[in-house]
Point group: C2
Chain length 244, copies 2
Protein backbone atom coordinates (compact mmCIF):
# COMPACT_ATOMS: atom_id res chain seq x y z
CA UNK A 1 0.00 0.00 0.00
CA UNK A 2 1.31 3.38 -0.93
CA UNK A 3 1.64 5.96 1.81
CA UNK A 4 -0.90 8.15 -0.02
CA UNK A 5 -3.63 5.57 0.51
CA UNK A 6 -3.56 5.44 4.28
CA UNK A 7 -4.15 7.68 7.26
CA UNK A 8 -4.10 11.45 7.04
CA UNK A 9 -3.26 12.84 3.59
CA UNK A 10 0.44 13.58 3.36
CA UNK A 11 1.38 17.23 2.91
CA UNK A 12 1.39 18.58 -0.65
CA UNK A 13 4.85 19.16 -2.18
CA UNK A 14 5.97 22.60 -1.16
CA UNK A 15 8.95 24.83 -1.41
CA UNK A 16 10.68 25.91 1.75
CA UNK A 17 12.41 23.89 4.41
CA UNK A 18 9.72 21.24 4.91
CA UNK A 19 10.69 17.67 4.13
CA UNK A 20 8.22 15.20 2.72
CA UNK A 21 7.94 11.94 4.68
CA UNK A 22 5.73 8.85 4.32
CA UNK A 23 2.65 8.93 6.56
CA UNK A 24 3.71 6.51 9.32
CA UNK A 25 7.22 7.85 9.41
CA UNK A 26 5.94 11.42 9.71
CA UNK A 27 3.56 10.44 12.47
CA UNK A 28 6.34 8.76 14.39
CA UNK A 29 8.64 11.68 13.81
CA UNK A 30 6.06 14.14 15.16
CA UNK A 31 5.55 11.97 18.24
CA UNK A 32 9.31 11.67 18.78
CA UNK A 33 9.78 15.42 18.46
CA UNK A 34 6.86 16.08 20.80
CA UNK A 35 8.27 13.60 23.34
CA UNK A 36 11.57 15.38 23.28
CA UNK A 37 9.94 18.79 23.76
CA UNK A 38 7.66 17.50 26.52
CA UNK A 39 10.79 16.08 28.11
CA UNK A 40 12.52 19.43 28.36
CA UNK A 41 9.59 21.71 29.23
CA UNK A 42 6.32 21.20 31.11
CA UNK A 43 3.41 20.46 28.75
CA UNK A 44 1.94 23.92 29.37
CA UNK A 45 4.97 25.51 27.78
CA UNK A 46 5.04 23.42 24.63
CA UNK A 47 2.91 24.68 21.72
CA UNK A 48 1.97 22.94 18.49
CA UNK A 49 4.05 25.58 16.73
CA UNK A 50 7.09 24.47 18.70
CA UNK A 51 6.47 20.91 17.60
CA UNK A 52 6.00 21.95 13.97
CA UNK A 53 9.20 24.02 13.96
CA UNK A 54 11.26 21.30 15.65
CA UNK A 55 9.90 18.71 13.22
CA UNK A 56 10.59 20.87 10.17
CA UNK A 57 6.88 20.74 9.36
CA UNK A 58 4.05 23.23 9.07
CA UNK A 59 1.42 23.77 11.76
CA UNK A 60 -1.42 22.66 9.42
CA UNK A 61 0.50 19.48 8.73
CA UNK A 62 0.76 18.73 12.44
CA UNK A 63 -3.00 19.32 12.68
CA UNK A 64 -3.63 16.96 9.79
CA UNK A 65 -2.00 14.19 11.78
CA UNK A 66 -3.35 15.27 15.15
CA UNK A 67 -6.73 16.87 14.54
CA UNK A 68 -7.26 17.01 18.31
CA UNK A 69 -4.31 19.41 18.53
CA UNK A 70 -1.84 19.48 21.37
CA UNK A 71 -3.94 17.29 23.67
CA UNK A 72 -4.04 14.48 21.11
CA UNK A 73 -0.37 14.80 20.33
CA UNK A 74 0.46 14.80 24.04
CA UNK A 75 -1.53 11.63 24.58
CA UNK A 76 0.10 9.93 21.59
CA UNK A 77 3.53 10.91 22.91
CA UNK A 78 2.62 9.67 26.37
CA UNK A 79 1.37 6.36 24.98
CA UNK A 80 4.59 5.93 23.03
CA UNK A 81 6.67 6.74 26.14
CA UNK A 82 4.60 4.28 28.18
CA UNK A 83 5.33 1.50 25.69
CA UNK A 84 9.02 2.31 25.82
CA UNK A 85 9.10 2.43 29.62
CA UNK A 86 7.17 -0.82 29.97
CA UNK A 87 9.67 -2.53 27.68
CA UNK A 88 12.40 -1.64 30.18
CA UNK A 89 10.68 -3.62 32.93
CA UNK A 90 11.41 -6.95 31.25
CA UNK A 91 13.57 -8.93 33.63
CA UNK A 92 17.24 -9.24 32.70
CA UNK A 93 18.39 -12.78 32.04
CA UNK A 94 21.21 -12.98 34.56
CA UNK A 95 22.07 -12.12 38.13
CA UNK A 96 20.47 -12.76 41.52
CA UNK A 97 16.98 -11.29 42.09
CA UNK A 98 18.29 -8.08 43.66
CA UNK A 99 20.99 -7.75 41.00
CA UNK A 100 18.31 -8.01 38.32
CA UNK A 101 16.20 -5.46 40.14
CA UNK A 102 19.18 -3.11 40.13
CA UNK A 103 19.50 -3.51 36.36
CA UNK A 104 15.82 -2.74 35.79
CA UNK A 105 16.15 0.35 38.00
CA UNK A 106 19.13 1.52 35.94
CA UNK A 107 17.01 1.32 32.80
CA UNK A 108 14.15 3.10 34.57
CA UNK A 109 16.34 5.99 35.71
CA UNK A 110 17.74 6.25 32.20
CA UNK A 111 14.18 6.78 31.01
CA UNK A 112 13.44 9.30 33.76
CA UNK A 113 16.57 11.30 32.94
CA UNK A 114 15.68 11.36 29.23
CA UNK A 115 12.13 12.55 29.79
CA UNK A 116 12.90 14.83 32.72
CA UNK A 117 10.43 17.74 32.56
CA UNK A 118 7.59 15.82 31.00
CA UNK A 119 7.90 12.92 33.41
CA UNK A 120 7.94 15.28 36.36
CA UNK A 121 4.92 17.24 35.17
CA UNK A 122 3.04 14.03 34.50
CA UNK A 123 3.62 12.53 37.94
CA UNK A 124 3.11 15.78 39.78
CA UNK A 125 -0.39 15.97 38.32
CA UNK A 126 -2.70 18.94 37.92
CA UNK A 127 -1.32 19.72 34.47
CA UNK A 128 -3.80 21.13 31.97
CA UNK A 129 -3.11 18.24 29.62
CA UNK A 130 -3.90 15.66 32.31
CA UNK A 131 -7.16 13.82 31.78
CA UNK A 132 -8.75 10.53 32.77
CA UNK A 133 -7.09 9.10 29.66
CA UNK A 134 -3.58 10.23 30.59
CA UNK A 135 -4.06 8.99 34.17
CA UNK A 136 -5.15 5.64 32.76
CA UNK A 137 -1.94 5.42 30.69
CA UNK A 138 0.18 6.13 33.77
CA UNK A 139 -1.80 3.55 35.75
CA UNK A 140 -1.21 0.99 33.02
CA UNK A 141 2.53 1.51 33.41
CA UNK A 142 2.25 1.02 37.17
CA UNK A 143 0.26 -2.15 36.63
CA UNK A 144 2.88 -3.42 34.16
CA UNK A 145 5.61 -2.74 36.74
CA UNK A 146 3.53 -4.63 39.31
CA UNK A 147 3.08 -7.64 37.01
CA UNK A 148 6.79 -7.72 36.19
CA UNK A 149 7.82 -7.67 39.84
CA UNK A 150 5.35 -10.47 40.64
CA UNK A 151 6.62 -12.51 37.71
CA UNK A 152 10.18 -11.82 38.86
CA UNK A 153 9.18 -13.21 42.29
CA UNK A 154 7.35 -16.18 40.81
CA UNK A 155 4.04 -15.15 42.39
CA UNK A 156 0.83 -15.89 40.47
CA UNK A 157 -1.79 -14.87 43.00
CA UNK A 158 -0.54 -12.21 45.37
CA UNK A 159 -2.61 -11.77 48.51
CA UNK A 160 -3.52 -8.26 49.65
CA UNK A 161 -0.39 -7.81 51.82
CA UNK A 162 2.12 -8.88 49.17
CA UNK A 163 0.25 -6.75 46.64
CA UNK A 164 0.39 -3.78 49.00
CA UNK A 165 4.12 -4.25 49.48
CA UNK A 166 4.89 -4.29 45.77
CA UNK A 167 2.57 -1.38 45.01
CA UNK A 168 4.13 0.59 47.86
CA UNK A 169 7.63 -0.05 46.65
CA UNK A 170 6.65 1.03 43.13
CA UNK A 171 5.31 4.27 44.57
CA UNK A 172 8.60 4.76 46.41
CA UNK A 173 10.47 4.31 43.12
CA UNK A 174 8.18 6.79 41.40
CA UNK A 175 8.34 9.27 44.26
CA UNK A 176 12.12 9.12 44.44
CA UNK A 177 12.43 9.66 40.71
CA UNK A 178 10.31 12.77 41.15
CA UNK A 179 12.32 14.02 44.14
CA UNK A 180 15.49 13.27 42.23
CA UNK A 181 14.37 15.48 39.33
CA UNK A 182 12.98 18.20 41.61
CA UNK A 183 16.23 18.49 43.54
CA UNK A 184 18.49 18.68 40.52
CA UNK A 185 19.67 15.06 40.79
CA UNK A 186 21.71 15.75 43.93
CA UNK A 187 21.87 12.08 44.85
CA UNK A 188 23.96 10.09 42.35
CA UNK A 189 21.85 7.73 40.25
CA UNK A 190 23.82 4.64 41.35
CA UNK A 191 23.32 5.43 44.99
CA UNK A 192 19.60 5.99 44.49
CA UNK A 193 19.35 2.66 42.70
CA UNK A 194 21.14 0.84 45.53
CA UNK A 195 18.96 2.58 48.10
CA UNK A 196 15.81 1.45 46.23
CA UNK A 197 17.03 -2.14 45.98
CA UNK A 198 17.74 -2.13 49.73
CA UNK A 199 14.32 -0.61 50.40
CA UNK A 200 12.75 -3.41 48.39
CA UNK A 201 14.43 -6.03 50.55
CA UNK A 202 13.76 -4.25 53.85
CA UNK A 203 10.12 -3.45 53.05
CA UNK A 204 9.74 -7.07 52.01
CA UNK A 205 11.24 -8.29 55.29
CA UNK A 206 8.79 -6.12 57.26
CA UNK A 207 5.88 -7.50 55.26
CA UNK A 208 7.15 -11.03 55.84
CA UNK A 209 6.75 -10.40 59.58
CA UNK A 210 3.07 -9.63 58.98
CA UNK A 211 2.19 -12.14 56.26
CA UNK A 212 2.89 -15.81 55.60
CA UNK A 213 2.84 -15.54 51.77
CA UNK A 214 5.35 -12.69 51.85
CA UNK A 215 7.55 -14.71 54.23
CA UNK A 216 7.58 -17.67 51.84
CA UNK A 217 8.26 -15.59 48.74
CA UNK A 218 11.00 -13.63 50.50
CA UNK A 219 12.63 -16.80 51.70
CA UNK A 220 12.59 -18.24 48.15
CA UNK A 221 14.05 -14.98 46.84
CA UNK A 222 16.83 -14.95 49.43
CA UNK A 223 17.68 -18.52 48.50
CA UNK A 224 18.46 -17.26 45.00
CA UNK A 225 20.70 -14.49 46.32
CA UNK A 226 24.43 -15.01 46.16
CA UNK A 227 27.17 -13.90 48.51
CA UNK A 228 27.86 -10.23 48.03
CA UNK A 229 24.50 -9.52 46.35
CA UNK A 230 22.59 -6.44 47.56
CA UNK A 231 20.18 -8.48 49.69
CA UNK A 232 22.96 -10.50 51.30
CA UNK A 233 24.90 -7.35 52.15
CA UNK A 234 21.82 -5.65 53.55
CA UNK A 235 20.90 -8.59 55.74
CA UNK A 236 24.32 -8.50 57.36
CA UNK A 237 24.08 -4.80 58.14
CA UNK A 238 20.43 -4.06 58.90
CA UNK A 239 20.08 -5.99 62.15
CA UNK A 240 23.00 -4.20 63.86
CA UNK A 241 21.72 -0.83 62.57
CA UNK A 242 18.40 -1.31 64.34
CA UNK A 243 19.77 -2.66 67.58
CA UNK A 244 22.76 -0.36 67.99
CA UNK B 1 -21.71 43.34 61.86
CA UNK B 2 -25.01 41.85 60.89
CA UNK B 3 -24.97 38.84 58.62
CA UNK B 4 -26.82 40.83 55.96
CA UNK B 5 -23.90 43.24 55.62
CA UNK B 6 -21.25 40.74 54.66
CA UNK B 7 -20.46 38.30 51.92
CA UNK B 8 -23.04 37.01 49.52
CA UNK B 9 -26.57 38.28 50.19
CA UNK B 10 -28.42 35.74 52.29
CA UNK B 11 -31.42 34.11 50.68
CA UNK B 12 -34.72 35.97 50.85
CA UNK B 13 -37.24 34.56 53.29
CA UNK B 14 -39.21 31.94 51.42
CA UNK B 15 -41.85 29.41 52.07
CA UNK B 16 -41.05 25.76 51.63
CA UNK B 17 -38.47 23.60 53.33
CA UNK B 18 -35.49 25.99 53.11
CA UNK B 19 -34.03 27.14 56.39
CA UNK B 20 -32.52 30.55 56.80
CA UNK B 21 -28.99 30.60 58.17
CA UNK B 22 -26.44 33.37 58.83
CA UNK B 23 -23.93 33.82 56.00
CA UNK B 24 -20.85 32.16 57.52
CA UNK B 25 -22.87 29.36 59.00
CA UNK B 26 -24.56 28.70 55.65
CA UNK B 27 -21.23 28.74 53.86
CA UNK B 28 -19.78 26.24 56.31
CA UNK B 29 -22.88 24.10 56.10
CA UNK B 30 -22.67 23.96 52.29
CA UNK B 31 -19.00 22.99 52.48
CA UNK B 32 -19.71 20.30 55.08
CA UNK B 33 -22.55 18.88 53.00
CA UNK B 34 -20.38 18.95 49.88
CA UNK B 35 -17.53 17.22 51.73
CA UNK B 36 -19.86 14.48 52.81
CA UNK B 37 -21.18 13.98 49.28
CA UNK B 38 -17.69 14.07 47.75
CA UNK B 39 -16.75 11.47 50.38
CA UNK B 40 -19.36 8.98 49.25
CA UNK B 41 -19.26 9.48 45.48
CA UNK B 42 -16.53 10.52 43.03
CA UNK B 43 -16.67 14.26 42.23
CA UNK B 44 -18.00 13.55 38.73
CA UNK B 45 -21.14 12.07 40.21
CA UNK B 46 -21.94 14.90 42.59
CA UNK B 47 -24.04 17.77 41.17
CA UNK B 48 -24.76 21.17 42.64
CA UNK B 49 -28.38 20.07 42.84
CA UNK B 50 -27.35 17.17 45.06
CA UNK B 51 -25.55 19.61 47.34
CA UNK B 52 -28.56 21.97 47.40
CA UNK B 53 -30.99 19.16 48.23
CA UNK B 54 -28.75 17.68 50.93
CA UNK B 55 -28.26 21.14 52.45
CA UNK B 56 -31.97 21.95 52.37
CA UNK B 57 -31.15 24.95 50.18
CA UNK B 58 -32.03 26.08 46.66
CA UNK B 59 -29.67 25.77 43.73
CA UNK B 60 -29.57 29.56 43.21
CA UNK B 61 -28.60 29.95 46.85
CA UNK B 62 -25.69 27.57 46.42
CA UNK B 63 -24.62 29.60 43.37
CA UNK B 64 -24.86 32.80 45.38
CA UNK B 65 -22.23 31.43 47.76
CA UNK B 66 -20.19 29.64 45.11
CA UNK B 67 -20.51 31.63 41.91
CA UNK B 68 -17.86 29.39 40.36
CA UNK B 69 -20.27 26.48 40.69
CA UNK B 70 -19.22 22.95 41.48
CA UNK B 71 -15.54 23.55 40.83
CA UNK B 72 -15.39 26.37 43.39
CA UNK B 73 -17.40 24.39 45.93
CA UNK B 74 -15.16 21.38 45.38
CA UNK B 75 -12.04 23.46 45.98
CA UNK B 76 -13.53 25.01 49.11
CA UNK B 77 -14.44 21.55 50.41
CA UNK B 78 -10.97 20.26 49.58
CA UNK B 79 -9.35 23.18 51.37
CA UNK B 80 -11.47 22.56 54.42
CA UNK B 81 -10.60 18.84 54.36
CA UNK B 82 -6.91 19.70 53.99
CA UNK B 83 -7.05 21.90 57.10
CA UNK B 84 -8.75 19.12 59.03
CA UNK B 85 -6.27 16.49 57.87
CA UNK B 86 -3.27 18.68 58.63
CA UNK B 87 -4.58 19.19 62.17
CA UNK B 88 -4.38 15.44 62.68
CA UNK B 89 -0.65 15.44 62.01
CA UNK B 90 0.10 17.30 65.23
CA UNK B 91 2.27 15.03 67.33
CA UNK B 92 0.57 13.38 70.31
CA UNK B 93 2.03 14.37 73.68
CA UNK B 94 2.91 10.94 74.99
CA UNK B 95 4.51 7.68 73.94
CA UNK B 96 7.78 6.68 72.28
CA UNK B 97 8.41 8.02 68.74
CA UNK B 98 6.95 4.96 67.01
CA UNK B 99 4.00 4.88 69.43
CA UNK B 100 3.27 8.50 68.56
CA UNK B 101 3.57 7.72 64.88
CA UNK B 102 1.03 4.92 65.34
CA UNK B 103 -1.38 7.39 66.95
CA UNK B 104 -1.02 9.87 64.09
CA UNK B 105 -1.63 7.07 61.60
CA UNK B 106 -4.80 6.08 63.44
CA UNK B 107 -6.06 9.63 63.07
CA UNK B 108 -5.06 9.67 59.39
CA UNK B 109 -6.91 6.43 58.62
CA UNK B 110 -9.93 7.78 60.45
CA UNK B 111 -9.88 10.69 58.03
CA UNK B 112 -9.40 8.41 55.02
CA UNK B 113 -12.30 6.20 56.06
CA UNK B 114 -14.56 9.24 56.52
CA UNK B 115 -13.75 10.73 53.13
CA UNK B 116 -13.49 7.44 51.27
CA UNK B 117 -14.70 8.10 47.69
CA UNK B 118 -13.51 11.70 47.50
CA UNK B 119 -10.09 10.94 48.92
CA UNK B 120 -9.65 8.07 46.50
CA UNK B 121 -10.71 10.12 43.49
CA UNK B 122 -8.42 12.94 44.54
CA UNK B 123 -5.31 10.80 44.92
CA UNK B 124 -5.99 8.70 41.85
CA UNK B 125 -5.93 11.88 39.75
CA UNK B 126 -7.34 12.59 36.34
CA UNK B 127 -10.65 13.72 37.79
CA UNK B 128 -12.42 16.51 35.91
CA UNK B 129 -12.37 18.70 39.01
CA UNK B 130 -8.61 18.36 39.37
CA UNK B 131 -6.65 21.48 38.53
CA UNK B 132 -3.32 23.04 39.36
CA UNK B 133 -5.05 24.55 42.38
CA UNK B 134 -6.34 21.25 43.73
CA UNK B 135 -2.95 19.60 43.16
CA UNK B 136 -1.37 22.46 45.09
CA UNK B 137 -3.72 21.85 48.04
CA UNK B 138 -2.82 18.15 48.09
CA UNK B 139 0.88 19.03 47.89
CA UNK B 140 0.49 21.41 50.81
CA UNK B 141 -0.87 18.54 52.89
CA UNK B 142 2.11 16.38 51.90
CA UNK B 143 4.48 19.19 52.83
CA UNK B 144 2.73 19.60 56.19
CA UNK B 145 3.12 15.85 56.83
CA UNK B 146 6.79 16.16 55.93
CA UNK B 147 7.31 19.10 58.32
CA UNK B 148 5.56 17.27 61.15
CA UNK B 149 7.66 14.14 60.74
CA UNK B 150 10.86 16.22 60.68
CA UNK B 151 9.75 18.11 63.78
CA UNK B 152 8.89 14.79 65.41
CA UNK B 153 12.45 13.63 64.65
CA UNK B 154 13.98 16.90 65.82
CA UNK B 155 15.53 17.61 62.41
CA UNK B 156 15.80 21.22 61.28
CA UNK B 157 17.75 20.86 58.09
CA UNK B 158 17.21 17.51 56.43
CA UNK B 159 19.78 16.58 53.81
CA UNK B 160 18.58 15.13 50.49
CA UNK B 161 18.69 11.50 51.70
CA UNK B 162 16.75 12.03 54.91
CA UNK B 163 14.27 14.17 52.96
CA UNK B 164 13.93 11.41 50.36
CA UNK B 165 13.26 8.84 53.07
CA UNK B 166 10.51 10.85 54.73
CA UNK B 167 8.91 11.80 51.42
CA UNK B 168 9.04 8.17 50.31
CA UNK B 169 7.43 6.94 53.48
CA UNK B 170 4.67 9.53 53.14
CA UNK B 171 4.01 8.26 49.61
CA UNK B 172 3.83 4.72 51.01
CA UNK B 173 1.24 5.88 53.54
CA UNK B 174 -0.76 7.62 50.84
CA UNK B 175 -0.48 4.71 48.44
CA UNK B 176 -1.54 2.19 51.06
CA UNK B 177 -4.53 4.28 52.02
CA UNK B 178 -5.54 4.23 48.36
CA UNK B 179 -5.00 0.46 48.00
CA UNK B 180 -6.88 -0.03 51.23
CA UNK B 181 -9.90 1.83 49.86
CA UNK B 182 -9.64 0.22 46.41
CA UNK B 183 -9.63 -3.27 47.84
CA UNK B 184 -12.58 -2.81 50.16
CA UNK B 185 -10.45 -2.45 53.32
CA UNK B 186 -9.44 -6.13 53.29
CA UNK B 187 -6.50 -5.49 55.60
CA UNK B 188 -7.63 -4.44 59.10
CA UNK B 189 -6.82 -0.81 59.86
CA UNK B 190 -4.74 -1.69 62.95
CA UNK B 191 -2.60 -4.10 60.99
CA UNK B 192 -2.04 -1.55 58.24
CA UNK B 193 -1.01 1.02 60.84
CA UNK B 194 1.48 -1.38 62.44
CA UNK B 195 2.84 -2.31 59.02
CA UNK B 196 3.38 1.37 58.19
CA UNK B 197 5.13 2.07 61.49
CA UNK B 198 7.43 -0.89 60.86
CA UNK B 199 8.06 0.31 57.31
CA UNK B 200 9.04 3.69 58.71
CA UNK B 201 11.63 2.11 60.98
CA UNK B 202 12.95 -0.32 58.36
CA UNK B 203 13.15 2.28 55.58
CA UNK B 204 14.91 4.55 58.05
CA UNK B 205 17.42 1.83 58.91
CA UNK B 206 18.19 1.30 55.21
CA UNK B 207 18.72 5.02 54.75
CA UNK B 208 20.95 5.08 57.81
CA UNK B 209 23.23 2.61 56.01
CA UNK B 210 23.59 5.12 53.16
CA UNK B 211 23.67 8.42 55.04
CA UNK B 212 25.33 9.74 58.19
CA UNK B 213 22.58 12.25 59.10
CA UNK B 214 19.91 9.54 58.87
CA UNK B 215 22.09 7.26 61.02
CA UNK B 216 22.38 9.91 63.74
CA UNK B 217 18.70 10.78 63.71
CA UNK B 218 17.68 7.12 63.75
CA UNK B 219 20.01 6.41 66.64
CA UNK B 220 18.53 9.32 68.62
CA UNK B 221 15.04 8.08 67.80
CA UNK B 222 15.81 4.53 68.92
CA UNK B 223 17.21 5.91 72.19
CA UNK B 224 13.74 7.28 72.89
CA UNK B 225 12.07 3.94 72.18
CA UNK B 226 11.01 1.81 75.11
CA UNK B 227 10.93 -1.93 75.53
CA UNK B 228 7.99 -3.38 73.69
CA UNK B 229 7.54 -0.32 71.42
CA UNK B 230 7.03 -1.01 67.70
CA UNK B 231 10.64 -0.14 66.81
CA UNK B 232 12.07 -2.29 69.57
CA UNK B 233 9.96 -5.27 68.53
CA UNK B 234 10.86 -4.81 64.87
CA UNK B 235 14.58 -4.62 65.59
CA UNK B 236 14.45 -7.94 67.37
CA UNK B 237 12.69 -9.68 64.50
CA UNK B 238 13.99 -8.07 61.30
CA UNK B 239 17.57 -9.33 61.41
CA UNK B 240 16.57 -13.00 61.67
CA UNK B 241 13.96 -12.56 58.92
CA UNK B 242 16.62 -11.43 56.47
CA UNK B 243 19.23 -14.01 57.38
CA UNK B 244 17.01 -17.08 57.75
Amino acid sequence: MHADDAGPAPERPRRGPYRRLPVEQRREQLIAVALELFGTRPPEEVSLDDVAVAAGASRPLVYRYFAGGKQQLYEAALRSAAVELTRRFVEPASGSPTERLAQVLDRYFGFVAEHDAGYGALLRGGSVVETERTSAIVDDVRRAAFRHVMKHLGVREPGPRLALLVRSWISVVEGSALSWLDEGRQIPQDELRDWLVDQFTAMFAVTALHDRQAAEVLSAMLDREVEGSPAARLAARLGPELTS
